[in-house]
Point group: D2
Chain length 328, copies 4
Amino acid sequence: MHDIALIGAGRIGKIHAANIAANPRLRLSRVVDPFADAAAALAAEHGATVSSVEEALADPAIRGVVVASSTDTHLDYSLAAAEAGKAVFCEKPLDQDLARASKAAERLEAIGAKLFLAFNRRFDPNFASLQARLAGGEVGTLETLHIISHDPSPPPIEYVRVSGGIFKDMVIHDFDMARWLLGEEVTEVFASSSVLIDPAIGEAGDADTAKTILRTASGRLCVISSSRRSGYGYDQRIEAFGSKGMIRAQNQLESTVETWGENGSAGDKLQNFFLDRYAVAYAREAAHFADVIDGKAAPLIGYTDGVRALALAEAAAKSAASGELVRL
Amino acid sequence: MHDIALIGAGRIGKIHAANIAANPRLRLSRVVDPFADAAAALAAEHGATVSSVEEALADPAIRGVVVASSTDTHLDYSLAAAEAGKAVFCEKPLDQDLARASKAAERLEAIGAKLFLAFNRRFDPNFASLQARLAGGEVGTLETLHIISHDPSPPPIEYVRVSGGIFKDMVIHDFDMARWLLGEEVTEVFASSSVLIDPAIGEAGDADTAKTILRTASGRLCVISSSRRSGYGYDQRIEAFGSKGMIRAQNQLESTVETWGENGSAGDKLQNFFLDRYAVAYAREAAHFADVIDGKAAPLIGYTDGVRALALAEAAAKSAASGELVRL
Amino acid sequence: MHDIALIGAGRIGKIHAANIAANPRLRLSRVVDPFADAAAALAAEHGATVSSVEEALADPAIRGVVVASSTDTHLDYSLAAAEAGKAVFCEKPLDQDLARASKAAERLEAIGAKLFLAFNRRFDPNFASLQARLAGGEVGTLETLHIISHDPSPPPIEYVRVSGGIFKDMVIHDFDMARWLLGEEVTEVFASSSVLIDPAIGEAGDADTAKTILRTASGRLCVISSSRRSGYGYDQRIEAFGSKGMIRAQNQLESTVETWGENGSAGDKLQNFFLDRYAVAYAREAAHFADVIDGKAAPLIGYTDGVRALALAEAAAKSAASGELVRL
Amino acid sequence: MHDIALIGAGRIGKIHAANIAANPRLRLSRVVDPFADAAAALAAEHGATVSSVEEALADPAIRGVVVASSTDTHLDYSLAAAEAGKAVFCEKPLDQDLARASKAAERLEAIGAKLFLAFNRRFDPNFASLQARLAGGEVGTLETLHIISHDPSPPPIEYVRVSGGIFKDMVIHDFDMARWLLGEEVTEVFASSSVLIDPAIGEAGDADTAKTILRTASGRLCVISSSRRSGYGYDQRIEAFGSKGMIRAQNQLESTVETWGENGSAGDKLQNFFLDRYAVAYAREAAHFADVIDGKAAPLIGYTDGVRALALAEAAAKSAASGELVRL
C-alpha cells in the first residue's frame, strides 16, 4: 500500500482521488489545494489529511505525487516532486510552452525521474484494444489513421482565452494518440482551422474547428478532426487503415436500447460527459501508477511524450496560422 | 431458351413475367388470365401472346408453366400442366386444403412431375446464406430457431375472410423456412394466437398475432413470431442458435444513412414492400426454374414440401383454437 | 447513513458488500456467514464486524438486512429480519417452494414487512430504459414480447441437481421481467424444453434448453428463450412489440472495436460474466434499498412478485413435463 | 421513347446499354465502337444497330448520345454530339486537361449544350439521401465533411501510367461529391500523398494513398481519404458534420447475415465490385438522362462541374507534389 499525495482538489483531482482510494495498492494520504475548503472536503471523504506541497514532498512515506493542479503549475510541481524522489503522475499537458517543457525534460532526464504523463485516452479499453490489435499486425502494416475528437460543447470563453489554443488544449490528446498508434515520429504537419461555432472564440484569437494532417518519414498519414461542439455529443472515434484491413473504435452509447417505428430506428445518445466516457480509463491510470511505483512498469507515457505532443501542437498552430506545411 | 407460359397476370404474375423476360435462358411466350386486358397488357410488354390454358398446355414448345393465378386454382393448373409434361413453377401455397393437397401429391408423384413450389424466402440471399452457413456447421449443431415475420399492415378484411387464416396464409412461409432450417421433421406444434390489431379480423374468425413453437423428434425447438401489422415495417428476421454460436439474418434497410443528433441516432426505414424486399429472391426463383427445366437441378422445394408446410399450418391453427399441443 | 447487516459472504454477498460500502447513504456494519473465514475477510475489507444473525437482528442500529445466503435460507432469514423490524433486501429467488413462499407472503403482509426482492435485471440501465419507454407509450400499446436469456455455459451438475430446475433457477429472472413489462398478469403458460447441451442435465431430471409462451387475459403474448449454454456468450436481449413500433435492448459488448478485412467485419465479444454484465444493476439495487429504508420508495419488487414469478416457474415446469397448457 | 446512340461498348458502356434498354422512356438504337465485334455483340443483345459516330450524329431520330468511350475521346465526342444538337450523357471525367476542358466548356456554353456529366455517386441512393437531408437542414448548417473512398485493389500498372494520376483518375469523384455537398466553392486545397501499396505506382510517377483538405471561403472544411487498395474491400462512406448533428452514409454489405461465436460477431463483406455497389446509381443516371432529353430537368451535373472538379484535382496534385497549399 503506497501513500499518495494529491495536488489539486478540483474536478479531475476528485476523480483521481476516488480511483486512488478504490485501488487496493494505493492510499490517498495527503491532499493539497490552495482552496482550503476543497482540500478539506476531499481529504475528509477519503480519510486523508490536508497538507502543503512542502509537507507532502518532505514526508518520506509518500511514494507518489499526483499533479492535478492548474495547467501552469504542472511542470513546477512535477519537477519538485521528482527532485524529492517521488514517482509523479502528472495530468496532461506537461506544459503549454515548448521551450520550457523541453528544458524541464532535460532536468527530469538528468535526475532519472519516474514521471507518468496521464493522457487518459491511451487507457480507454477501446483505444487500447485497437492499439494492441494494430501492434499485433491484425490488419497488416499501418498505412493511415483517422482520429475524430469532437466535444459536446465549447468551454466558457474565459477558459478559451487562457487555454493555449485549440491545438495545445484539445488536439494535444489526439497528437499523443497519433504518435502512439503511428509507430513512427511525425515529420510534417499541416492544419486548417476555422471559426464556425462561436465568433467569440475567433475574437479570443482561437479557432473552434480544425482538420490536421500528420505525415511520418515513411509516408504514413494521419488525419485529425477537431470540433469544440459536435451537435450530437462527445464523438471519440479512431479508424486505423492497414495493408490488410481496418480496425476501428466506435463511440460508446448510453444504452443499447433502440426504438423502431415507421420512420426507422432511433438509437441512444453518445456517452457525453468525458468523466463518464473515460471513467474506466481514469481507474486504469491509477493502477498503472501503482505499477510504476512498484517498478513493475515504466511509465507508458513520459515527459518526452509530453514534449513531442506539444511540439506537434505548436506546429499545427503555426501551420493553421500561416497556411504552410510545417516540417519537424 | 425455354418457352414459358404464365397463368395469372396479377401483381405476382407481373413480377414473374419480368424475371422470366430478363433471364437469358427463358422466354415468356404465352400469358393466360381471365381478365383479357390484364393478359394483353402483360403479353404486349414482353412480346408474348395471350393464350388460353388449353392452348398453352397443348403447345409442345412450352417447356414450363408458371402458375401465379388465384390460390384456389394453384393445384388444378399445376396438375394439368404436369399431366401435359410441363415443368411447373407453382406460387405458394400449393393449396389450402390438406386432404386435397395430399391426394394431388400422390398423383404428382405417380406421374413423376417436376414441380417447383415457389416459397420465395428460401431464395433470399440473406436467408440462403444463413442456411448454407448453418448446414456447413459454422455454429455447430442447430439447437433452436427464432423466426420473426411481421407484416407492415394487415390485408383488407375481404382478403382475410378468404385467406384460409393467418397460419395457412401468412405463417406458411415460416413453416417452410423452419422445415428447411431445422433439418428434421416437426413432431409437435403449439400455437397461441390473439386479436390485438383489428377486432374485424377476430370477427372474421381469424387472429392477427401469433406465437408458435415447433419441436422435432430430437428436441430441436423453433419459435415463430407472427403479426399482421408491426408498426415499424416489414420485419423479416431469423436467428439460428447452434452448439457453437448463433447466425442471424437482419432486416434490409432502405439506405445506410444515419442521422446523429443530441438525442442519439436515427437509422433508415425497413425495406417495407415485399416485392422490393424479395426482389432478388424472385429473380433467383426464375433462374432456379430454368435449372429445373434444364435438368440441372431438382426443385429445391417440391409438392411434398407444400403438403408438409400445410400440415404444420393446420396443426398450428388447431392448437391455437384448442389450447392444446398437436402431435404430428 | 444506515447500518446494514449482510447475511452471506459468498460471491453475490461480496458484490452487495462492495456496493453498500460505496453507497454514501449505507454502511456495512455486520457480516454473517457460517464460514467464519469468509465472514472475517469480508468484514475486514469493509471495516465491518463479524456477527451472528441473532446479534445482527437484535442490534437496533441495524436498519436493513441483506439476505445473500443459500437459496433455501432466503425465506427464513427474510422473515426473521422483517419480524425484527428491519428493511429486507432479499436475493432472488424468495424460495423454491410455492406453497411455502405463499404462506410466508401472508405473514410478511400481516407484519407490514418492507421487503425488496432483488431481481437484478430490472435495475439494468438498458432494460430499465426499455421499460420506461414502453410504459411511456413510445411504441403505443404493448402487444408481444420476446426475452432471450442464454447463459455462456451450464453450471456444475451438482448445482443443477439442487437448483430446483431450469425454470425456477434460471428462467425465474425472465418470468419477473415478463411480468414487469407485460403490465398484466399471465393467465396461461406453455413451455417446451429439451436436453440438447449435456445428457447429464437430463439424467439429473432437468432440461437445458426451453421455449416458453406466456399469455395474459387481454391476449398479450410473451416468448422466453432459455439456454444453459449459448456458444457465443451471455445473450441478454429483449424485444417489445407495440402497436406503433418496437423497442429492443441489445447485448453489451466488451468493447466498441471492430476489425474489417477481406471477409467482412469482426466485432467484439459479448460481456459474458454476469457480475460484469450487471455491475451497474447491482449498484443500483443498493441505492434503491437506501431509498426503501429512507421511505422514499416502496420496494420496486416485493414478496408478492417473488410468489408470482415462482408460480409461473412452477406452471412452466408442469407444462414442459406434461405437454399441456397450464392455466393460472 | 427516345432513340439513343451509345459510343463505347466496353465495361461501362454495357452497363449504360442495359439501363437504357430497361428504361421505358429510352431505346438503344445505335452502338459505336472501334472494336467491331464488341459493337456488334452489344447491339445484338439490345436490338440496336452498329453505327459510326458520323451516322449516329447525322440521324435526326437520335435524341441523345451516351459517351462511354476512352477518356481521351470524351471531350471530342461530347462536343461533336452537342454541335449536332443531341443531348449528351458523358462518362466522367470530362477530360484530363484543365485548359482543354475549360476551352471546351466555353464552346458548350456558346451553343447551349445539354450535357450531363455522369458522376455516378451523386445518384447513389445513400449519398443522394445524405445530400437531401443536409440540404434540408436536418443537422443545421454544414461545417465539415469527411469522404472516404478506398478501392478494393489497385488497377493494372499500365492503366496507372495513363490514368492522369490518382487525383484526376480516382479522387475526381470525391472532388465532385465535395463540391455538391459543401454548397460553396473550394478556395484552398492541400494534399499529402504517399506510395504505401505498390512501389511500381511510385515508379510510374503516381501515388496510391492520399489525404486532401479542401476549404471554402466561409471556412468549411472537407477531408478526402483516398487509397488504391483498402485490404477490406470497397469503402465508400461520407460523414457530414453540421451545427446540430451529423449525417453519415455507411457502406453496403453483401448480406445482413452475422455469425456470433465465442470471439464475437462476424459480419458480411462490403459490396466490393463498383458495378454492383453503384448498380442503382447507374440506372438512375439513365432515368435522369431521359428527364434531360424531355426537358423535365436540367443536367444535375454539367460541364462546368466537370471543369471545376478537374481544377481541384490539378490543385491537389500540385499541392501533393510541392508540399504547399494551393489557393484557387
